[in-house]
């Protein structure tokens, strides 16, 4: 009896102590990972980039043996991780805003890594032709001012198309996302009313409509609800065979969203810090609701106990991603970077230093 009890108590304590130790141990390894080994880099951020990054990193590790552990936790969370210096690079669908910049302990740089588009998908079973939309009509729909599909404003653009009298059901993202940021930035640019009433950001106060979580949530709402219209990523719409509208761009042309028309939209004068929105650009054959996704790293790579080797590996990886790595974009429905974007990215990478000395010669 006594021995049994003693063993019982012993086991009890053993379990308790191991569970406590393992908790502590888990926390420690998480923190030291980023600095202990130099043949594995850590990145975090945008979930939009994740499929492309997975492909690029697996190809890169075949030739260079460098492992990259990318956590697709969302753009904002990626920036927080970079701010906390727990990752080597962050990835974001929106450039860092002023408040995020001021939270950083040292300056960071943005390198455009790929481009994507946001398309307007809809559920109108009887409409066979591709729907066409102008910026003004789109803004009025999302402001809740146009409520029926056979509204005169929509009919005027889509001449010859028999539009139903169904009520328009708006679907938007409920989770904060880079997709929402690109879309609301576009609406704020083309509509003064949207700009003053709603504004732009990864989460906004939507004047009307239903929210779905993620691309799949919005797509689910659109597919199910007759008369629905919502915005999703181009890649998601292509993969799921969803119809999407042609948008009128700044030059007045109606553009079908595609990889080529997104790359075209990005072929513009890009500022030195590359923090530019691709919405409503001047490109005549560019799709107007496009946007870059960026990789963000510290400008001076000597922080904490980082080695020069690690810093060089990181910069070389990013340089490969914007050159050779771009060949994997099209197959995954990402728009390859425009020549202007690549040369802007090159210039930024050349400015990255280690202890004040440039890393790339």
């Amino acid at each position: 009896m006594t021995i049994k009890r003693a063993i019982g108590a012993g086991v009890f304590f053993a379990i308790l102590s191991t569970s406590l130790v393992s908790c502590g141990g888990g926390g420690n390894t998480g923190g030291s990972d980023s600095t202990s080994t130099d043949d594995a880099l850590i990145g975090a951020g945008s979930s939009f980039d994740n499929p492309l990054f997975s492909k690029q990193f697996s190809e890169y590790s075949k030739t260079n043996g460098l492992k990259v552990n990318y956590q697709s936790i969302g753009s904002g969370a990626g920036i927080s991780q970079l701010t906390a210096k727990t990752v080597d690079f962050g990835a974001s669908d929106a450039p860092m805003n002023g408040k995020q910049d001021s939270a950083l302990s040292a300056p960071a740089v943005h390198i455009p890594i790929t481009a994507g588009a946001v398309v307007l998908s809809y559920n109108l079973p009887d409409v066979k032709d591709t729907l066409m939309l102008t910026p003004g009509v789109l803004a009025d729909i999302f402001l809740g001012k146009i409520t029926k599909w056979d509204d005169k404003a929509i009919a005027a653009i889509n001449k010859g198309v028999k539009l139903p009298s169904t009520t328009i059901v708006i679907a938007h993202r409920s989770d904060g996302s880079g997709t929402s940021n690109i879309f609301t930035t576009y609406l704020a640019k083309v509509s003064d009313e949207w700009n003053t009433k709603v504004g732009h950001g990864s989460s906004v106060n939507w004047p009307a409509g239903l929210g779905g979580k993620g691309n799949e949530g919005v797509a689910g709402l659109i597919k199910q609800t007759p008369g629905a219209i919502g915005y999703i990523e181009l890649a998601y719409a292509i993969q799921n065979n969803m119809p999407y509208a042609k948008m009128q761009n700044k030059a007045g042309n109606f553009i079908t969203p595609s990889i080529a028309s997104v790359t075209a939209a990005a072929n513009i004068q890009i500022p030195a810090d590359t923090k530019v929105s691709l919405t409503n650009t001047d490109a005549a054959d560019g799709y107007p609701i496009s946007g870059f996704s960026w990789v963000i790293i510290y400008k001076d790579q000597k922080y904490g106990d980082r080695s020069q080797d690690r810093a060089t590996k990181l910069v070389k990886l990013i340089s490969w991603m914007i050159h050779d790595g771009q060949q994997y974009s099209s197959a995954l429905n990402y728009a390859p970077l425009s020549p202007a974007a690549v040369s802007a990215g090159d210039a930024v990478l050349k400015s990255v230093t280690y202890d004040g000395k440039p890393i790339l010669q």
Partner: protein
């Protein structure tokens, strides 16, 4: 705590064998007492860890939401606008959405959970059909909530939409009503299994006495079983309400996620847990993040208040 010196060592027979035997017995009993002490202390430690955890979570929530409390003040609670772009945060639409969907779910689920509890506890405690029912109910508790969400979006929402178009409200399908239906299904097992064990505990002599007096089965359930178990049934219902208040994934998929105040129970809305899950990863401003954590604090307090009211009601029931 008992130490070695406290032990009375009574030696009746002073022969060496007897002394050795008595000493051995004393050693053995001391060892037993020591085990008891260790076990007792372990239990206290485990209990304390739980308390520390709850207090720790509460303090973390308070500290993290300080920036938002300072910036927004108490108006946060009844503010009707949630606008991250202009840093205006009001929790009222979500507080309303949480309470509305949870209590509606509770009202829908109570008839089912009480019936299941009575059926399994009193009418048919054994047999293949009750076993099947029992396993099915327990299985509901084991299904991941995201599965409920998908099922709700794919199956339930179209049915609700058809229903809505018949009764003449905007046929959107998703909304408070759909999420209440999903929640009701998810919380049935909690009240049902607690109710069933409570009904099993009703002393059989009470029931036999009632039957002896000529009571029918319904009369026994109404006048003996239910009065005897009402505090237990209520505790089960309270447990399921707690589950409904905090449910996130399934709700966010079918509630429609708008920050507008719901006009009726068929309108889309949002709950506090769902807003946190949706917006936490991309909350890119300190006040925004803090406002979301304050939402968690409000949810925590709402749960505490509802539990306290529940305890009061249970006490009153048992005192009768």
């Amino acid at each position: 705590m008992i130490t070695r010196s406290d032990l009375p060592l009574r030696v009746i027979n002073s022969s060496p064998e007897a002394v050795a035997k008595a000493k051995k017995r004393a050693r053995l009993s001391f060892r037993q007492i020591r085990t008891e002490n260790i076990f007792n202390k372990t239990l206290i430690l485990m209990g304390l860890i739980m308390v520390v955890l709850v207090v720790g979570i509460f303090l973390t929530l308070v500290v993290q939401s300080l920036p938002s409390i300072k910036a927004l003040g108490p108006k946060y609670l009844w503010g009707k606008v949630w606008d991250p772009v202009q840093d205006i945060y009001g929790a009222w639409p979500f507080l309303l959405g949480t309470l509305l969907s949870s209590f509606l779910a509770l009202i829908i689920s109570i008839p089912f959970s009480i019936s299941v509890a009575i059926f399994l506890g009193e009418y048919h405690p054994a047999g293949w059909l009750p076993n099947l029912l029992k396993n099915a109910v327990e299985l509901i508790a084991a299904v991941p909530s995201v599965i409920f969400g998908f099922w709700g979006l794919a199956v339930l929402v179209p049915i609700v939409r058809t229903f809505e178009s018949h009764i003449g409200v905007a046929p959107v399908g998703v909304g408070i009503f759909s999420s209440s239906l999903i929640l009701a299904i998810m919380i049935i097992p909690y009240a049902a299994s607690l109710g069933r064990s409570m009904i099993n505990l009703v002393p059989s002599h009470l029931k036999e006495a009632a039957y002896g007096l000529g009571a029918t089965r319904w009369e026994v359930i109404r006048s003996v079983v239910l009065p005897y178990t009402k505090s237990g049934l209520f505790a089960g219902i309270l447990l399921s309400l707690g589950r409904a208040l905090g449910e996130t994934m399934a709700v966010t998929m079918v509630i429609g996620n708008t920050s507008l105040i719901p006009k009726n129970i068929f309108a889309p809305g949002n709950t506090m847990a769902s807003v946190i899950a949706n917006e936490f990863t991309e909350a890119d401003k300190p006040v925004y993040l803090s406002a979301l954590i304050e939402l968690g604090l409000v949810l925590f307090l709402v749960t505490v208040v509802i539990n306290m009211i529940g305890k009061k009601i249970i006490d009153r029931f048992t005192n009768d």
